[in-house]
């Protein structure tokens, strides 16, 4: 004030006029400003509310920074702090800092993703390894029954809250799906979230496949799963190993169902009507192999089956392995299997490889020519 007075001797009337101008125009701008604020709020630019609890979460400087237009930067700083706390295995701090980053910038999906990851994977895994070294039963019980589940829940709740904030993004529903699939072993819920995630615009294609995988694990939902899996198998660009296995497993399920609920005659009737349905041939073959142990009839059925171009390639493997059961044809079958293995090794499951190994030893294939060198596992 002294500087003001000393500095210049100007008319106080002009100060009053200036204040009057500011007040009058201030009244004019306020509706425009609050309208703009509302629009910003609607567009998700005002998610963070600097209230009492926000003030308590942040340091003084961070709070001022967050108000002063550096909210995103402050969030990044807390992200780094969380990372540091993670390195120190200070899970309480990790949780606290993750809460700050997510509340400062709730529309940045990665914040939620990292928060869920730190809780449901990192903290969870830390306590699980701790439990392995614990001799104290009470402590063990506390870790396994209280701490570990609580971190799973924390991770899940971060992910679920994040999914609410980022409805456009595939990410958080995917994380929830991951938690249900990998931590809770709940394929039903996992498949639901993966499906949700796969519907987002930016979703990578593997999420839909993860959905199919989880769906294929759901007991009692085989019909639905088969629709999804066979569509992916026949129409998708990528035929992953999991997809092949799921396809084979689901088809085997339907084959078993057919075999159990139909007599051989009924199956034969069916195949006449539905010539293109290769599964029925498999059912017939299974029937012959099961009750009558008639390999040649089963081979006949497979011979019909593999004529169908729609039949997945693993039937050719089944067919060849079946032929190999007859020692007379073992060598011919091995030739077929060898070609198959060299061109599409993916169609061989672990059990198939064991069988292949057996065939190789039956035929006394020299070691350097063997397809399966040592262990069958791949």
């Amino acid at each position: 004030m002294i500087i003001l007075v000393k500095s210049k001797l100007f008319s106080y009337g002009r100060v009053l006029v200036s204040l009057a101008i500011l007040v009058v125009f201030g009244f004019l701008k306020i509706p425009f400003e609050s309208q703009t604020e509302q629009k910003l709020k609607d567009k998700g630019f005002r998610d963070w509310v600097p209230n009492m609890s926000a003030r308590e979460q942040l340091t003084q400087a961070s709070f001022i920074g967050a108000i002063g237009g550096f909210r995103s930067l402050v969030a990044s700083i807390y992200d780094l702090r969380a990372h540091e706390a993670f390195r120190d295995k200070d899970w309480g701090s990790v949780e606290r800092f993750r809460k700050v980053t997510t509340s400062l910038q709730p529309r940045f999906a990665k914040h939620w993703d990292l928060a869920a990851w730190d809780m449901a994977w990192n903290a969870y895994a830390y306590y699980r390894s701790k439990s392995e070294f614990s001799d104290d039963d009470l402590e063990l019980w506390r870790i396994e029954k209280m701490i570990m589940p609580s971190y799973l829940e924390k991770g899940l709740s971060f992910a679920k809250e994040g999914a609410k904030w980022t409805p456009e993004s595939y990410r958080l529903p995917m994380v929830i799906g991951d938690i249900y699939a990998q931590k809770y072993n709940n394929p039903k819920l996992a498949s639901e979230w993966y499906f949700k995630s796969s519907q987002a615009k930016d979703a990578p294609s593997y999420i839909y496949r993860a959905y199919a995988t989880q769906l294929a694990k759901c007991v009692g939902m085989e019909e639905e799963a088969y629709k999804v899996v066979s569509n992916l198998y026949n129409g998708g660009k990528v035929r992953t190993l999991t997809l092949r296995r799921d396809m084979e497993r689901l088809e085997a399920y339907f084959v078993n169902k057919l075999v159990q609920s139909n007599s051989i005659n009924e199956l034969k009737e069916m195949v006449k009507k539905e010539n293109s349905n290769y599964i029925i041939y498999d059912a017939i073959a299974t029937h012959y192999l099961g009750e009558e142990n008639n390999i040649s009839l089963a081979v006949n059925a497979y011979r019909e089956l593999v004529k169908n171009p729609k039949a997945p390639d693993f039937y050719r493997r089944k067919f060849a392995l079946l032929i190999a059961r007859d020692p007379a044809n073992e060598e011919r079958a091995y030739g077929l299997l060898k070609n198959m293995y060299l061109s599409t090794p993916q169609i061989f499951r672990r059990v198939d490889l064991i069988e292949l190994k057996k065939i190789e030893s039956n035929l006394n294939i020299p070691l350097n020519e063997k397809l399966i060198k040592s262990d069958a596992s791949r």
């Binding site: 209230n51 237009g69 550096f70 930016d202 990578p204």
Partner: protein, 308 residues
């Protein structure tokens, strides 16, 4: 000789003199710009480069989302900081300095209306801020561009086996969605608009305070109030909570007199992937124009008859 002899001169003066001359304003603006440039303010670009390259190098162990976000946060943070400092300190440094050094005498004793001087100074500062922001943006965008391509290459490298074209394009889409995008320009514009209002605030303050330090401090206080005012309203007077009439009155006065600078903070949202509709950008630009006009006008009211 009689007094009538002055008439030709009088008439000549009146016809020659233009009430508002853009060329005079530009002369003052460009002079201000030149002055600041020759004060070597652009050395700050070195600091800026170090900051963003540092942000780039230091955080290599993080996910690409974090990496790209930190790069953007540091860049936008530095841009906001530099733009605001240039606006406030530049204005506070130059106008009181002109008064102190009496350089102003030689300018105002030319046929230059005082508001032209004020507008010229303001434009000069804004021009400097704009040029700095453009230079910083070029640096920032270039680093971001190279980083996102670098990240893409690294991520592909880390994939098991031969990634399919589909995988690569999906990854690319994911990375680039958080990398260089048009939306960032809106962020830079918003940073500029806020700095422009800050410069206009400093202009008003410098017309009644001749000391540089006083101008800077008062302007910074107003700048801070401008950021906190809308929040202070919520903070101290939550909705539905009835408070004393006096407190409400004070809060109202603050909201009326001070600009709401919080409105310009859209960078946080932009970094987290939101987009600002053009209509909102127009609103912000309009609001800035309004503030520039009012504050220029008020500073002229204060400055027009100031005894120098």
């Amino acid at each position: 000789m009689t007094v009538e002899n002055n008439e030709p001169i009088y008439n000549e003066l009146n016809s020659k003199f233009k009430l508002f001359s853009p060329s005079r304003v530009m002369a003052i603006a460009m002079n201000t710009f030149t002055q600041l440039v020759r004060m070597k303010v652009f050395y700050f670009l070195l600091i800026f480069s170090v900051l963003i390259i540092g942000a780039n190098v230091l955080f290599l162990n993080f996910t690409f989302e974090q990496e790209l976000k930190i790069l953007q946060d540091v860049s936008f943070g530095a841009m906001t900081l530099f733009a605001s400092i240039f606006s406030i300190v530049g204005t506070a440094l130059l106008i009181p300095k002109d008064i102190e050094d009496r350089t102003l005498y030689s300018i105002l004793t030319k046929p230059v209306p005082r508001f032209e001087y004020l507008i010229g100074k303001l434009l000069g500062i804004l021009f400097l801020v704009a040029v700095s922001l453009v230079l910083m943006s070029i640096l920032f965008f270039a680093v971001l561009f190279f980083r996102q391509h670098g990240i893409l290459a690294e991520e592909i490298n880390q994939m098991r086996g031969q990634p399919t074209a589909e995988q690569i394009s999906s990854l690319k889409e994911n990375i680039f969605a958080q990398g260089l995008r048009l939306e960032l320009i809106n962020g830079v514009v918003a940073v500029f608009l806020k700095a422009a209002v800050a410069a206009a605030i400093a202009l008003v303050v410098s017309t009644f305070a001749s000391s540089t330090l006083f101008t800077i401090i008062v302007s910074l206080v107003i700048y801070f109030i401008g950021h906190a005012q809308s929040m202070a309203l919520d903070y101290y007077f939550p909705e539905g909570d009835m408070h004393g009439a006096f407190q409400r009155f004070i809060a109202g006065i603050v909201a009326i007199i001070f600009p709401n600078l919080q409105i310009f903070n859209v960078v946080d949202g932009i970094v987290s992937g939101q987009s600002v509709p053009m209509s909102l950008m127009f609103r912000l630009t309009g609001l800035t124009g309004f503030y520039l006009f009012i504050y220029s006008f008020v500073s002229w009211v204060l400055f027009a008859k100031k005894e120098l």
